[in-house]
Subunit: 197 residues, 2 copies
Amino acid sequence: MSNPTDPRAARSRAAILVAARSLLLDEGPAAITHQRVAQKAGVGRATVYRHWAQPGHLLHDAMTGIEMPFFHEPETPVRPWLRSHLQRLADALTTPQIAGVLLTLMQGALRDPAIAVQRDECYEDISGKLRTALALAVANREIELSADPHDLSTLLVGPILYHTTMQARAVSPQLIEQLIDSLGEWHEDPAPRAARP
Amino acid sequence: MSNPTDPRAARSRAAILVAARSLLLDEGPAAITHQRVAQKAGVGRATVYRHWAQPGHLLHDAMTGIEMPFFHEPETPVRPWLRSHLQRLADALTTPQIAGVLLTLMQGALRDPAIAVQRDECYEDISGKLRTALALAVANREIELSADPHDLSTLLVGPILYHTTMQARAVSPQLIEQLIDSLGEWHEDPAPRAARP
């Protein structure tokens, strides 16, 4: 166990985390070994081992510091917000860095309860924002929602993640419109219409 | 390099592959190290190293031998076939073994061209069967398809994979009906109707 009040230990811990995050983003989770991380951080293997006896815990802590560029706070009108944020998500998931971190979370969560907690937080963040967005759209009379609010990220993010990582293709604007359409009956631009004579 | 005509080398190679597959299914890809595989196969580390100098290649070859229990040949009427096969897929993906192998394929394919080939074959197998099934449904006048035939696995398998591995929940029959409904306009049981007076 390292002493958390020792400034040298704190510096080496921070350097190890930076190195581990960089290896995770560049090469994927298999690169998170004591040896590779020590080399990258410029510290001894024993130092890495002293902070994180298990590579799984280091992977967990490295992932905690990675910001996933998913959804911002929803805005009205909701449909254009949804369209641009789904396209941004689709673009991010075509990079091996972002797709790799998300798949590492999903893969790690299958067997590691601490990573399952991170996966659940990431899921709740995404699906909470989508629920808020669609509740706004309902209140704003943009849509008569037919999808279950708890299925929103399954219906929107699931196809995009699969398309980029399993089918390995960029997501077309048409596919995004189709996913948005599948949530219920949208009314076109209700605000401009209300202003018509 | 090992000599492929040496029966002892062939036996140890087979034992190593069995051990690697078992570790992959039970513990995930992180367990595919020379040390763990050698221990499990009851051979020396040097023997594993002689056959597979890189753990990534061993992971690749171990995955080649795992049969993914996805879709059988399509049958008419297509809707009940689709319903039962999507439910079977959803059930399989709630096990860490099957979900783990699929996520390993998706994760590994991001950076390893040989695993990308396996991922593409798996994708083609799934999406080819779904295209055949929906072509049958169109020919059988069960559906007026509005989805792009190349998006079928994105629209059906993507949400199921996300729901089981990211949302970590079993897929309800209602969600499966909703996914099937989203493909186009289905006609109810066309065969019995044609027989009506």
